[in-house]
């Protein structure tokens, strides 16, 4: 009888619980859907980049009645979820000639949440989301508002 092959992974392989950036982004997508009865919502698309040494999470805004589906925010981090960097997309970037993409770095989960809150409150973001909601509502007015 052969000897069983042992599990060679260290016992502390799974570290302390952390809310990952992708979980935080998904929650924001669902929350937007809750506010709008899924007329406008967010979805997260994740892919490994730089030969698997980094992850990229695209927070994609969808307004299905308008056939609108574009990335709003791009979050990237290394193998570990923090630190991370986040950058807006062309969707909300100012058209002024010298303007730069809004971007932030976050070292922790709390910093990430603060910066997301700041981003969602930008006038360009509020204007975009408000317009998508208004145009979607045109199709079937929300009679309870």
């Amino acid at each position: 009888m052969s000897t069983p092959i042992p599990d060679l992974w260290p016992s502390d392989l799974v570290g302390p619980p952390t809310t990952t950036p992708v979980a935080i982004l998904r929650r924001q997508g669902d929350a937007l859907g809750t506010h709008t009865q899924n007329f406008v919502l967010g979805e997260v698309e994740t892919r490994p980049i730089v030969n698997g040494t980094q992850f990229e999470h695209n927070f994609v805004i969808q307004a299905p009645f308008l056939r609108f589906r574009f990335p709003l925010l791009r979050v990237t981090h290394g193998v570990n979820p923090y630190p991370l960097s986040m950058v807006e997309t062309d969707l909300t970037k100012s058209q002024a000639p010298s303007s730069q993409f809004w971007h932030r770095e976050a070292k922790t989960e709390l910093e990430f949440q603060d910066q997301l809150r700041e981003f969602f409150a930008l006038s360009a973001v509020k204007s975009l989301i408000g317009s998508l909601i208004a145009q979607s509502n045109e199709i079937a007015p929300d009679e309870h508002r």
Binding site: D30, G33, T34, Q37, N38, F39, L41, E43, V44, E45, P64, F65, R67, R69, S136, I139, A140, D142, H144
Partner: protein, 276 residues
């Protein structure tokens, strides 16, 4: 595993009681998928509002389609998208929250009023080719088709090998495929054949047309159909497909089973449930 309903609602408006019937149908059948034909954006949007009451985490998503079939899916279903489409159909890669990925094909074929049977058979053959192409690209055939084919289960486009290749027998469908003229064609199992009958205890079809002066007239037609690929047969039983004639206690038919358009549509809904 999954429950899907399809209903051609006959262009009913949002204030004609159809929204309530659709949402009651969802509740009655515990449907995960609602596919609607002859349905305006306004109706589907009002249905979505009703299915996703304000203040609660939304249950259903509209999957954008470029065909004339509207599709609502109980979510979240990230990644679910239309793989291929035409005015008459959408081929959707469905990634349910639980269970394996499926290919969902929703159809509203061109009407017999505007095109002849030969044209519709040809369109069904083109649809069958699009389905096989999607299955080849995804490398699986967990495919469910539901829709108003504007053709009966015995029509050439539904039965022919190069068409949908829908057969009435589970045992035959379980063979997987058949060679015709040196080409291999996969089967669909078409459970709708079981509904041909005398129309005494249930409707003799999903829609009814008086033949008027025509030499050939079937009166009852089974244009609204569900078909499944053989690999889904382990999840299927005969009573899992039905033509719905009653929603929340409200009859959709007159006393002779003919669909009552003053209540619902000139078509009856069909429902497919697949279970473990």
């Amino acid at each position: 595993m999954i429950c899907a309903v399809f209903w051609n609602i006959g262009r009913k408006g949002p204030r004609e009681g159809i929204v309530r019937l659709i949402t009651d149908l969802q509740v009655q059948e515990d449907a995960d998928i609602i596919a609607l034909a002859e349905c305006s954006d306004q109706v589907v949007a009002t249905v979505l509002r009703a299915l996703n009451p304000r203040g609660r985490s939304p249950a259903f998503n509209l999957i954008p389609t470029t065909s004339r079939v509207r599709l609502l899916v109980r979510g979240p279903v990230p990644g679910t998208h239309e793989l291929d489409s035409h005015e008459y159909y959408s081929v959707v890669h469905l990634l349910p929250n639980v269970g394996p990925a499926l290919i969902l094909v929703v159809v509203h074929m061109v009407s017999l009023v505007s095109k002849d049977r030969g044209h519709i058979d040809h369109e069904l053959t083109l649809l069958a080719g699009a389905i096989r192409k999607a299955e080849d690209s995804l490398q699986h055939s967990r495919t469910i088709l539901l829709g108003d084919l504007n053709a009966n289960p015995f029509a050439d486009g539904v039965v022919n090998a190069s068409g949908l290749h829908g057969v009435m027998s589970r045992a035959v469908a379980a063979r997987g495929s058949r060679q015709a003229s040196h080409r291999l064609y996969p089967f669909f199992f078409n459970p709708m054949w079981q509904f041909f009958g005398d129309g005494e205890s249930q409707p003799a079809g999903s829609c009814y047309y008086e033949p008027e002066g025509a030499h050939t007239g079937y009166y009852w037609n089974l244009f609204d159909q569900v078909l499944i690929r053989p690999c889904l047969l382990p999840y299927y039983a005969n009573d899992l497909v039905k033509i719905v004639s009653l929603i929340a206690g409200k009859r959709l038919t007159q006393s002779n089973w003919i669909p009552d358009r003053s209540i619902g549509s000139d078509h009856l809904p069909v429902r497919l449930r697949l279970t473990r």
